[in-house]
């Protein structure tokens, strides 16, 4: 039952680390079981100049959690008069999810960030009740997560440049979700560096 809910809308996201850069990528499919409804549903949301979160799972919860988290981060910025750091965002998200421990949101989350002064990179992932992970090199969520993990582990190298990171992320994502019928229909990759964020759309199999 729980498994069916997580596969109801489909979708997948991947995050990888490089040298003073991080990349996050997701597909663009929005479907209802085996029917595709839209091909412009990206699952990545921005919460700060160098903080991005991707949510995968039930689409209604993707939107709700994105908005509720935005509410909390807006209040934080107003009160503290400063922008969020990635680990603060992550703790806020896991707290939000654990509040619904016995009636959870059906999403899995990825949080990435970069500290623009030190270049320190952060990639975290969370399950749907807010289990905290370490700062990992590679994380995937969604219906095709296992497919992407295999290639991701193979293509990952420590300290990649932004271009190498983009290549590794795109190849893992594209080849991975081609094997999954609930993900696909195009992809978006965000590469975050200290001074800029590059957003690229990938051409993928339109099925």
């Amino acid at each position: 039952m729980g498994d069916d809910i997580m596969n109801y809308n489909g979708g997948v996201a991947l995050a990888m680390k490089g040298k003073e850069c991080v990349a996050i990528a997701c597909d663009k499919r929005y479907g209802v079981q085996n029917r595709t409804i839209a091909t412009n549903f990206t699952k990545i949301f921005e919460y700060g100049p160098h903080c991005y979160v991707a949510f995968c799972g039930l689409a209604t919860d993707v939107q709700t959690v994105a908005e509720r988290l935005k509410f909390r981060t807006n209040l934080y910025e107003l009160r503290e008069q400063r922008k969020l750091k990635p680990n603060v965002l992550y703790n806020m998200l896991t707290n939000l999810l654990y509040e619904k421990r016995f009636g959870p949101y059906f999403i899995f989350a990825l949080v990435i960030g970069l500290d623009p002064k030190t270049g320190e990179t952060f990639v975290y992932d969370s399950d749907n009740i807010g289990a905290i992970s370490d700062n990992v090199n590679l994380a995937t969520v969604g219906t095709a997560s296992e497919y992407i993990f295999g290639l991701g582990e193979l293509l990952f190298k420590p300290d990649m440049t932004p271009d190498e990171l983009f290549e590794a992320t795109s190849q893992s994502l594209l080849n991975g979700f081609d094997r999954d019928s609930a993900s696909g229909w195009g992809a978006v990759v965000y590469v975050i560096e200290k001074d800029k964020v590059t957003i690229r759309e990938l051409k993928a199999r339109q099925d």
Binding site: E146, Y147, I148, L151, L154, N175, R179
Partner: protein
């Protein structure tokens, strides 16, 4: 009388609460095969499990068949071993009746029919049979648990199939 009619009503409260015995067990394991011009490379892990316990660390999923084809089989070990035993017997029978060794494509067809013969109580295995075809080129045949056969250039089955398959696709 009205009382007798009332007593005739029977309600059946038999509900199945849990399955007493389940005939299959998933014992994990992964196999990979890649075909080349005159060879096939196969690989397998060596872990055999039952839920989260490890039953063996040295159990390979590659079995050598009597005609020098390789059988790669994961899933339920009881069915894997029975399949291999039955196949060896059928291969020998073929040799005795046809006076030659069975070729890999013919063996694949035989496996497909054998497995569909058990359509209503299947061999719970993901099998791949590899060998050289009649021209000496490497060939790989993959089957689902009821014998649906496809010839492929590369195959990957088992618990790590989702992780390895995209790597084979990409290259």
């Amino acid at each position: 009388s009205k009382q007798k009619q009332f007593l005739k009503v029977k309600r059946n409260y038999n509900m199945v609460k849990e399955v007493g015995w389940y005939p299959y067990e998933f014992q994990s394991g992964t196999t990979v095969a890649i075909a080349g011009d005159d060879y096939v490379v196969v690989a397998s892990d060596t872990r055999l499990t039952e839920n989260y316990s490890i039953q063996s660390r040295t159990h390979s999923n590659v079995y050598k068949l009597h005609n020098n084809s390789l059988l790669l089989s994961t899933g339920f070990l009881g069915d894997v071993l029975t399949l291999k035993k039955t196949l060896d017997g059928r291969i020998k029978t073929y040799e005795y009746t046809h006076n030659k060794q069975i070729s890999t494509p013919a063996l694949a067809q035989m496996i497909s029919i054998m497995m569909y013969g058990r359509r209503f109580f299947p061999y719970y295995t993901n099998t791949v049979v590899t060998g050289l075809d009649n021209e000496g080129k490497g060939c790989i045949f993959a089957f689902d648990p009821v014998g649906s056969m496809t010839q492929q250039g590369y195959a990957c089955e088992g618990s790590a199939m989702p992780l390895i398959l995209p790597i084979l696709d990409a290259n």
